[in-house]
């Protein structure tokens, strides 16, 4: 239960958030505390419940169980009052493809009942900020992925929301535009906006102030990227070898190895944290198997390692239970 004396520093609080679709549990007993003025990320594979979670938080879906408080409002009960305070960028481009860029913007401005004065200042400002000037007369359907996404962000922020929900905003965007997009998100943060963004890109997740890793509807880890790297339940080794494939197949049969991933000619190996001196143990095992390796060193875990480790731990537990 979230008490009325909910912390004012929090934009979103959720307790025991659950959503079933028939027999499928899309989101399972989620607790969230998302601070204001930060970019908070939901990291997870497709089907992990990121979109369902965002839709529940902005009142589009009714939770099966749990309490939500967004910007001090009880959701979904006070969802209508929330509409004016939040912006929502859907995963799929949802503006009107048969309207031009400027028609779309003025439609959204009127839907949020901005006054004529507000429209006169905010629309040109958004056009300049998101570099839409050349595209004003172009139909939205003919824009590129990056342009569409800039337009969607411009539309979602036209009414100056306190909180912005972005559901996989960069899934159809090239790296250069993704970079520019994230720069504009930090501009919004500097202006005091809170942003909740879902992604399955590691590099994007690393940019977030804090994030939650979701797997099959369950929150498996949460914290800042550094906290998550430090708290990982495994040691990460990087092994260089002439025949990395053979070593990978060998290591996967070993008890103490959680997983291996090949990157070029190197192997990234996750080893049980309980194993002391993992570099020695791994090197010896590999040599004992008659395989050669050039080097083996322990490295600081990346977010991807955290992601793999936390989702694999769950998978192991599930397999065990089964």
């Amino acid at each position: 239960m979230i008490t009325d004396s909910a912390q004012p520093g929090l934009a979103i609080q959720a307790r025991g958030l659950t959503k079933d679709f028939g027999n499928v549990v899309a989101v399972n007993n989620l607790d969230l505390d998302i601070p204001r003025g930060r970019i908070y990320g939901f990291l997870g594979p497709n089907g992990s419940g990121k979109s369902t979670c965002i839709r529940m938080l902005c009142g589009l879906l009714t939770p099966t169980a749990g309490n939500i408080r967004v910007l001090g409002l009880e959701i979904p009960k006070q969802a209508e009052a929330l509409r004016r305070k939040v912006g929502y960028m859907t995963q799929k481009f949802s503006l009107f493809e048969d309207l031009t860029v400027s028609e779309n913007l003025s439609f959204i401005a009127n839907i949020y009942t901005l006054t004529r004065m507000e429209q006169k200042t905010r629309i040109p400002a958004a056009v300049e900020r998101y570099e839409l000037g050349r595209l004003l007369k172009q139909r939205a359907g003919t824009l590129s992925g990056g342009q569409k996404q800039r337009l969607a962000l411009a539309a979602a922020t036209l009414h100056e929301p306190e909180l912005l929900f972005l559901d996989e905003p960069t899934s159809a965007v090239d790296p250069e535009n993704r970079r520019a997009f994230w720069e504009s998100l930090f501009d919004l943060i500097a202006e005091g906006t809170t942003i909740l963004v879902s992604t399955h890109y590691m590099d994007e997740a690393e940019r977030c102030h804090a994030l939650a890793i979701l797997d099959l509807g369950v929150l498996v880890a949460a914290g800042t990227p550094d906290e998550l790297s430090d708290g990982i339940e495994a040691s990460v080794l990087v092994i260089e070898a002439g025949e990395p494939r053979k070593i990978a197949h060998f290591l996967e049969t070993q008890e103490f190895v959680h997983s291996t991933a090949q990157i070029g000619n190197t192997l990234r190996v996750m080893v049980d944290r309980e194993v002391e001196n993992p570099t020695e143990v791994a090197s010896q095992a590999i040599r004992a198997a008659g395989l050669e390796l050039a080097s083996c060193e322990k490295v600081h875990p990346s977010l991807e390692d955290v992601f793999v480790a936390s989702t694999q731990a769950r998978k192991a537990a599930r397999d065990h239970a089964a």
Binding site: R55, C58, G59, L60, L61, T62, P76, A79, E80, R83, R84, V86, Y88, T90, K92, F93, S94, L95, F96, E97, D98, L99, E103, S106, F107, I108, N110, I111, Y112, T113
Partner: protein
């Protein structure tokens, strides 16, 4: 005031989208025009040009005269001259003719004896309408050459080729066209936005359900009135349909019926997930509207259960109203009963639509 701004924004958006959707735009004018021509000219209950064959054993002036008379009616076209009854029956079995005319050798003598039939008509009775039309010829023919009146006149009066079913069809056609286009347009308009994801965006904005519903149907009200004008104008110009009641009343009734169908389209849109489903649902509704409302077949001639179903359809009530005003010159107070039913229908459908459309995804 804020509601007005939002409604206006959606109406402007709808009209912009519509003006860019050439196919739909064409359908607005195309459907009424094509249907009017189709129903006016082709779907004609006056039966004409039935294929016929003659076996004339008499081969007299009188027999040739009577065959000519029958051909003159345009009900039948004499396509074959054959030598016997067997050949007539064979042609009929082959489906080459639906009417066979057999004139016996003693035809002229039989004409003098009213108690005997002078000749025989063989009719393919598989279509009852054809049967009825041809049976009519026999009555006319009996009176043919030996009465006082010139036989040609007699035949023409009876089989007036100008029976003018368009007069009855055109006002009803307004109902058919509005039912077809209005329900379909609104149902598809909302479901399309759901399919394209626009609706997910719209429901996260402050726009209210009733504002969205109202704004969605407003543009189509104007479109419906344009369609009514097209049908009426073409009906008067091409088929000389008289408008005996007041034109203002005609438009007021049409407005009511347009809103009823738009509301129905909205209800369908809240059930359908895809445009295809929306189309299926509206067709499920359009077919009984055309068949049972009294547009195609006289209402009183239908079996009771069909009449009960028909009473639920707004089209049935509109049909009575529009025919009353256009053809009989009735005034609205005289038809108040039907108007109340139509109004009740609008209220019910609108309520269901607004209640069923919630701003949630689940």
């Amino acid at each position: 005031m804020k509601s007005l701004q939002r409604i206006l924004a959606i109406v402007v958006k709808e009209l912009r989208q519509l003006s860019r959707d050439r196919l739909t735009f064409g359908m607005i004018i195309g459907i009424p025009a094509i249907q009017l021509l189709m129903f006016g000219f082709a779907i004609n209950m006056d039966v004409r040009h039935l294929s016929a064959a003659v076996a004339d054993y008499s081969n007299s002036a009188a027999s040739r005269q009577i065959v000519m008379d029958m051909a003159q009616t345009q009900v039948i076209d004499i396509n074959y001259q054959v030598g016997g009854v067997e050949e007539l029956e064979e042609l009929m079995r082959q489906g080459k003719i639906v009417v066979g005319i057999y004139i016996p050798p003693d035809f002229e003598r039989r004409l003098q004896q009213p108690e005997r039939s002078a000749m025989q008509l063989l009719i393919d009775g598989s279509d009852t309408v054809v049967q009825g039309a041809v049976t009519g010829i026999t009555k006319a023919s009996r009176t043919s050459p030996y009465t006082d009146k010139p036989p040609l006149m007699e035949v023409r009066t009876y089989f007036n080729p100008e029976r003018r079913s368009p007069v009855n069809t055109v006002p009803g056609l307004i109902g058919v066209i509005l039912t077809m286009t209005m329900t379909l347009f609104t149902a598809v308009a909302i479901v399309r936005e759901r399919e394209r994801g626009n609706l997910e965006l719209l429901i996260t904005t402050p726009v209210k359900s009733w504002e969205l519903m109202l704004a969605k149907i407003l543009p189509y009200v104007f479109i419906g009135l344009i369609q009514v004008s097209v049908v009426l104008a073409l009906g008067v110009a091409l088929f000389d349909v008289p408008i005996r009641g007041s034109l203002f009343d005609v438009y007021r009734l049409c407005l009511m019926f347009i809103i009823a169908n738009l509301a129905l389209g909205l209800v369908a849109s809240t059930f359908a997930q895809t445009q295809f489903q929306a189309m299926q649902m509206t067709f499920f509704f359009i077919l009984p509207s055309i068949l049972l409302s009294g547009f195609m077949f006289p209402f009183d001639g239908m079996p009771k259960p069909a009449q009960w179903i028909a009473e639920i359809l707004p089209m049935t009530h509109f049909m009575r109203l529009i025919r009353g005003v256009v053809l009989r010159g009735a005034s609205l107070p005289e038809l108040s009963g039907e108007i109340v039913i139509l109004a009740g229908f609008i209220l019910a459908a609108m309520t269901i639509a607004v209640l069923r459309f919630n701003k949630r995804l689940d």
